[in-house]
């Protein structure tokens, strides 16, 4: 009977437990998480802050989930050490948990650069339910009216929308020239920017925060920020939403190879046999770039966890890879953006664009040798998945290239042979 130990119980950990149980119903599974109830949707914390969802709605698996899958869940406890020779994980209590197969699914932690004043009361990160609860409680306690959000990526945008919905005046501060610059090209970015500004948000780009200052009557509480160029923005809260970095403390000093994240092969195994890694802590395969890298995205973490779980349970499974891919719902603008959506000075790509300013629709495909390698769809996403299928499967689109961006594009547009392969018709 195999002993499986999984450190981390968010998407990758959940995916792994489910995959192990598809194959091995007898082996013992122990899941360790420092969160009290880890099986919740982290992308939903913005709905918690806005008041749209309570914690119950956020649970992505039942309360009985671990029990149903016969997994022992050690929650609210941190794993503090790893011994690869004796094959144990040590908890903060000193207790040692032995493993035969180990999955490191420790996830990411918010990146917080050094800033003067960052210790002040009212500075938060935005990754976990605890962050969301603290922010919500703070808003109520001090009747917060304004916030500065540092970082205008996915997390920054989500918390900005949540705070705006709660009635706060938000200023987003982004070091890059455009918001969502890792995901969108300038044109799509500007479309979002328009909607964000229309909701009353102030956007500052090309700058960062150099200092967080206190209130006049209480220097220990956040009163504002001073931007790189010297301007002051008054605020009651500061949310640092620059990004996440892998939580690799547990493996520091061990023989497990780390680049920026833990290095894994296509079975999600590390360089140490029987030790696997998945999710935001791991550098997994990007099939568009053709290399491994950090891609801290929930659906990929779940997939990687599945692959790790299958392999840990002895069923050979290879990770087909993911890529930078996100769907956005913020400020009422549905967007899907995938892969190489914003190539810069790349002579090997061909770009197809169609925009309709009246309907606020923007579609863009990036092709290389007649294969789609990147795409952005703004305000017209319902058939984005069909395009993603073509992208993911490396389908040569030469014969129907001129049809891809027309409004009538649909499954019927695809060649009959492909329709057959996809099983869309009898």
């Amino acid at each position: 009977m195999a002993k499986y130990v999984i450190v981390g119980a968010s998407a990758a950990g959940i995916g792994a437990v489910e995959a192990i149980r598809e194959i091995d119903t007898a082996g013992t599974i122990t899941v360790i998480s420092d969160e009290a109830c880890p099986q919740y949707s982290r992308p939903m914390i913005s709905d918690y802050v806005s008041g749209k969802a309570d914690f119950n709605k956020m649970k992505c698996r039942d309360d009985e989930f671990w029990k149903q899958l016969k997994a022992e869940a050690i929650t609210g406890k941190k794993a503090t050490a790893l011994n690869l020779t004796e094959k144990t994980v040590t908890l903060e209590s000193g207790e040692k948990v032995p493993y035969e197969k180990l999955l490191l699914a420790t996830g990411g932690k918010p990146f917080v650069p050094k800033m003067e004043g960052q210790e002040k009361d009212g500075v938060f990160t935005f990754t976990t339910i605890t962050d969301a609860q603290r922010i919500a409680a703070k808003i109520d306690a001090i009747k917060a009216k304004s916030a500065v959000v540092i970082g205008a990526g996915l997390i920054g945008l989500s918390v900005t929308e949540a705070l705006t919905k709660r009635g706060l005046k938000v200023t987003m501060v982004e070091l890059q020239d455009k918001i969502l610059s890792l995901l969108l090209d300038p044109q799509a970015s500007e479309m979002v920017e328009g909607a964000v500004k229309a909701a009353g948000v102030n956007i500052v780009t090309g700058q960062s925060v150099q200092k967080i200052i206190g209130k006049h009557d209480n220097d220990a509480a956040v009163g504002g920020v001073i931007l790189t160029k010297g301007d002051t923005v008054q605020c009651d809260l500061v949310i640092v939403a620059i990004g996440v970095i892998p939580r690799t403390e547990l493996v520091a000093g061990a023989a497990i190879k780390i680049n920026r994240g833990i290095i894994v092969d296509n079975t999600m195994q590390t360089n140490v046999p029987d030790v696997y890694a998945s999710g935001d802590v791991a550098e997994a395969y990007d099939f568009v770039l053709g290399q491994n890298r950090l891609l801290p995205l929930w659906p990929l973490a779940m997939q990687e966890g599945h692959v790790a779980g299958h392999n840990m349970a002895g069923q050979k499974s290879t990770y087909e890879g993911g890529t930078n891919m996100s769907s956005l719902k913020y400020f009422g603008i549905p967007i899907v953006s995938i892969g190489l959506a914003n190539p810069k000075d790349d002579p090997t790509v061909e770009v197809l664009v169609k925009s309709d300013f009246e309907r606020k629709v923007y579609k863009k495909l990036v092709l290389r040798n007649n294969v789609i390698v990147g795409m952005t769809m703004v305000n017209c996403i319902e058939r984005a998945g069909v395009i993603f299928y073509l992208l993911k499967n490396g389908i040569n689109i030469k014969k129907f290239k001129d049809q891809l961006l027309v409004d009538s594009f649909c499954l019927a547009t695809l060649p009959a042979s492909l329709q057959k392969k996809m099983n869309v018709v009898q």
Binding site: P43, W298, M302, S327, V386, F388, S408, A412, V425, Q426
Partner: protein, 147 residues
């Protein structure tokens, strides 16, 4: 499991599948009210795919390895281990559209008013899905297929 299968050669692209799907998923079950007055607007979960002369109807395929279930950020999309049906729980849905991004069939619809997605539920409770029962040319069949 029993799935809805489209017969391309029999489809006329009339769109009655969409109409009857909309009515079947309305509160009033009344065609006039469903289209004219009901709010939030009921949504058709089946779509006519037309590239003349080709047309056929498509709705959730209830995939064996459903990418939407894996990708779902909230646990709203699940695969019923017994029936094989891909189920959507709208109370859990946050309307993030991640499932739409990964559905190769474009079979998941946006219910913008409710800020959730809508997709084929095989008309649970009816003898036969409404699109199948009301297709005038029998271009849709509800039958047992391999996975």
């Amino acid at each position: 499991m029993k799935k809805i299968v489209a017969k391309q050669e029999a489809c006329m692209g009339c769109g009655l599948c969409e109409v009857h799907c909309t009515v079947a998923h309305s509160k009033t079950k009344d065609i006039i009210k469903a289209y004219n007055s009901e709010r939030p607007k009921p949504i058709s979960r089946v779509t006519r795919e037309i590239q003349k002369p080709v047309s056929f109807a498509i709705q959730c395929r209830h995939c064996e390895d459903a990418p939407c279930v894996v990708a779902c950020l909230t646990g709203a999309m699940t695969k019923d281990p017994k029936t094989g049906e891909v189920k959507h729980n709208k109370d859990k849905c946050m309307g993030c559209w991640t499932c739409i991004m990964v559905c190769p069939y474009g079979a998941i619809k946006m219910d913008k008013e409710n800020k959730v997605i809508a997709k084929c539920d095989l008309c649970q409770g009816l003898k036969e899905p409404a699109c199948v029962a009301n297709c005038p040319n029998q271009a849709l069949e509800f039958k047992e297929v391999r996975s």
